[in-house]
Symmetry: C2
DNA sequence: CGGGCGTCGGTGATAAAGTCACCGAGCGAG
DNA sequence: CTCGCTCGGTGACTTTATCACCGACGCCCG
């Protein structure tokens, strides 16, 4: 398409709220976390961009000429390609496959947002936390994350997470270590995640 | 593009969660409200589709072949055009103006979702309610809505809205009538909406 | 006009969630 | 080992949400 993919080390902030937008980001490898930060410092994870996806934070910027409204952080080392605005528009016009890819990303983001809203607005905290654990475990039975990070995932406070995890541990659903949560009974967690 | 715009009376449910998707909706006139409903019956307003915009709930469906995940209700009488999937894809390929319009709608939805998440996850209830009132007043100084509806807008409960409105009334910010709220001090409300 | 009835809103009681502050435990660096 | 930092546990409190109930209003109809 254009521009060579370039490596970006984990921990890099690709963009922050208020930044002007430089180009369209297509991710080849790694995980990009997009978050929203409140005035008081609280932070929620909006979604993650996976390999093969395009970052749509960028999309809104390019289309409307707006600045970024959220923060993008490289969760792992990345391999990403930055496509200039003109090239992006041309590819959208000419390249069927590229269009399909962007559409897919848009649909995925919508689904993510809907999930997030449903979680935050309609779901009790225990189920929300169970969902976050299952999501972050990605099929495995262990999550490497601090309570602080889980608070970001659940749009809640660190103390709230600590207490709920303690309750889960009492019931034998999880085991908590420093910086890691082991899922002892993923089935029960999944049931809790579904049934509220 | 295709298909004639057709009138739809207020109150019509255009789609509900789980429905298969029939086509791509382009709105000419009126206001379409898209909501998410919980198992327990609680409902939040995700966003509204305005004239000239496309309904992106439809978008995700067509692109990914998924069913609807939310509910679409005609808030007023509508004039809408339904574009078959094939026509939609062709227009996206060929028609620059159509593409620009769809992109605009996507960007708008993203902004709406971000606002919603920010409201629900990062903002205290009084500010959230103030924002909802200002948004629904659309520059005017009166909102025609029941407390129930405002609960949907703020992703909260009816009783919570009642109490907060009573407090606003005490402070002289609003005056409450049956089915209507008068904004007596929009400036103060705006300040509250901004500063949390 | 005067009931009957459905929606709307006020309110008390209680539970859940979030906030704040503090402290001790674990871990790594020097 | 000790310093210093992050991590997590916990008590006390505030805010928000939920549940249940009831009176007020509007409307239709006899």
């Amino acid at each position: 398409m254009s521009g060579a993919p370039r490596p970006i080390p984990a921990g890099t902030v690709l963009f922050r709220a208020g930044d002007p937008c430089r180009g369209f980001v297509l991710l080849h490898e790694g995980s990009l976390r997009v978050t929203l930060t409140a005035a008081n410092g609280r932070e929620v994870v909006l979604y993650r961009v996976a390999p093969g996806e395009v970052c749509l934070q960028t999309f809104s910027c390019l289309v409307e000429g707006r600045d970024y409204s959220a923060r993008g952080l490289a969760e792992t080392d990345l391999l990403a390609e930055v496509i200039p605005s003109a090239d992006f528009h041309r590819a959208m016009a000419d390249d069927e496959a590229f269009r399909a890819r962007v559409f897919g990303a848009v649909a995925q983001r919508f689904a993510d947002f809907e999930r997030l809203v449903e979680d935050v607005a309609l779901t009790g905290f225990p189920a929300r936390l169970a969902r976050a654990l299952l999501r972050l475990a990605r099929g495995g039975n262990s999550v490497r994350a601090t309570h602080e990070q889980l608070a970001g995932e659940t749009a809640s406070g660190r103390a709230v997470v600590s207490r709920q995890l303690a309750r889960f541990a009492e019931e034998g659903l999880v085991e908590t270590l420093r910086g890691e949560i082991r899922l002892c009974d993923p089935g029960a967690l999944a049931r809790l995640a579904r049934d509220g």
